[in-house]
Symmetry: C2
């Protein structure tokens, strides 16, 4: 079971912190930044080198990494190759890989996405990830294929419920007339139903949800509504989410939620206070220090796994 | 402007029919079906060969093709390479390419997807497509980057509003308490606002919408709500959509809407009545005949461009 592997990784590393791998070459340290006019292959090599350095430094501090597909798709098939090699490398270092691709489609197409990323039929060509983020706009029929694939192949999904961006409220917070609940709670109810049906005897199901840490009230409500789902909490750092708000999302054992930080960790070398202690060449060491600092703050605030 | 190029292509070919390129190797004719155990490169080559044969046969009958990304992502970077080569080939044959990838994310990530597919900064690495389908679940802030990129770079987007699948109603048809309108009409209002802001002096904006032909009442309502947007109408054929229901979606010049058919055309060789007239090796000729038959039916029903 995906959730059991996640539990084990969090306990072993005493960390629920997921490092987001969102490589933006314009933010790379000078030593890795591709030259103007670089080919896609050269850019993809720089991305892979950057990611490997970060992975080497955080592998003992994080249960998982979360590559964001957009930053790789930007370089077409060469970028997708770097994404795949990043995922393979991360797994070889004992990290779980949560691919943040937010896929969602009609049933026939959702099944193809499930084959691509959750390998329900042990597809030898499937992408080497452990979990995938999925988008609920098209409804339950397509999503069911992701749920089935995750369940049958020991993988996980994270259903978008309440995202971390300012515009999230535009659709997710509309009030539904029939139930007087916001749209995000309707989607949460789908997740709760699938979680209950798929968890078997486990405390946590392969069906998790995305809950932006930038909306702590909603995230904490989701904790109540989805007792058997992992919450993936993006938004720490650059987006403004606070560690104190994450604490109520964990269970008493420190499980049940994942805190995500991306830009604030991988580009720490260019931010205060790390930019005075680390040179750009030491970007990976700066990322390690930033990761350790988040964990220190989390534990100081009372996170159970000390 | 994307919409002007679309207008010109529809008028030149007297056809609003978009051929969906959803390559499923299990449905390929025996001569192209990869052997069990084939490598991803071999599979990608088969996909590209299949698509090129279809493109050669429909290039004079369709203004655009619509590859569905999932069927390529299934084979990782090798599949993405076949997708890119398919798009490049289609454009070389005078077809517009609408990439059906249904992307959507928070602003920072949406910008990366826009760079990937809509090349707002003339990104030399951008995917060679003319338009992209986008998902509204995360709200207007991320979508704004797609709108901006499409406008500044002569490309288009198609915003998912009311999709063609049975489960579409789960979220899209929830009634919003404040406005008494379904969620899909709220999203349509965003589209109408962007269409008005981006069309300039043109009749049609670069901002189109997806309206499943399987829900003709909704599609026709969208025609009224979005007078300056192209409607992308999937669902003809295998999904059950009817030609008669598409007719009210076109303007008096036969513009303003695109009818999509995928499986019913590209796998026509294995379906009645084409399977008796064409051998599996003649799959491309069967696809051409199926395309011509849809156009014949559309014109017989009164489509303006005869």
């Amino acid at each position: 079971m995906f959730a059991r592997r996640l539990n084990e990784a969090i306990r072993a590393k005493k960390s629920p912190l997921v490092v987001g791998l969102d490589p933006d070459i314009t933010k790379f340290p000078p030593g890795l930044k591709p030259a103007a006019g670089a080919s896609r292959t050269e850019i993809a090599e720089a991305i892979l080198a950057f990611n490997k350095s970060i992975i080497d430094q955080v592998a003992d501090l994080a249960p998982a990494v979360k590559p964001q597909a957009a930053f790789y798709e930007e370089y077409g098939w060469a970028g997708m190759k770097a994404l795949e090699e990043t995922a393979t490398y991360a797994r070889s270092k004992g990290l779980l890989v949560i691919l943040d691709a937010k896929r969602g489609d009609i049933p026939n197409t959702a099944l193809a996405y499930a084959r691509a990323y959750l390998a329900p039929d042990k597809n030898p060509h499937a992408f080497p990830c452990d979990a995938l983020t999925v988008n609920p706009f098209l409804g339950r029929d397509g999503l069911q294929h992701f749920v089935n694939a995750a369940t049958s192949n020991q993988r996980g999904i994270f259903l978008l419920v309440r995202t971390s961006n300012p515009g999230a409220a535009d659709l997710q917070n509309l009030t539904v007339q029939e139930t007087k609940r916001p749209v995000w709670q309707e989607v949460a109810a789908w997740g709760a139903d699938w979680a209950e049906k798929t968890r078997g005897n486990e405390e946590y199901s392969p069906v998790g949800v995305v809950a932006g840490l930038t909306y702590p009230h909603e995230a904490q409500t989701l904790r109540q509504l989805l007792p058997h789902s992992y919450l993936l909490l993006p938004g720490l750092g650059v987006q403004g989410g606070q560690i104190a708000d994450a604490l109520p999302c964990f269970d008493n054992s420190g499980l049940g939620a994942l805190l995500v930080a991306a830009r604030s960790i991988i580009y720490a070398f260019s931010r205060e206070p790390y930019n005075s202690a680390f040179s750009p060449d030491q970007f990976a060491a700066a990322a390690r220090k930033a990761t350790m600092d988040v964990l220190r703050d989390l534990k100081a605030a009372g996170y159970p796994l000390q």
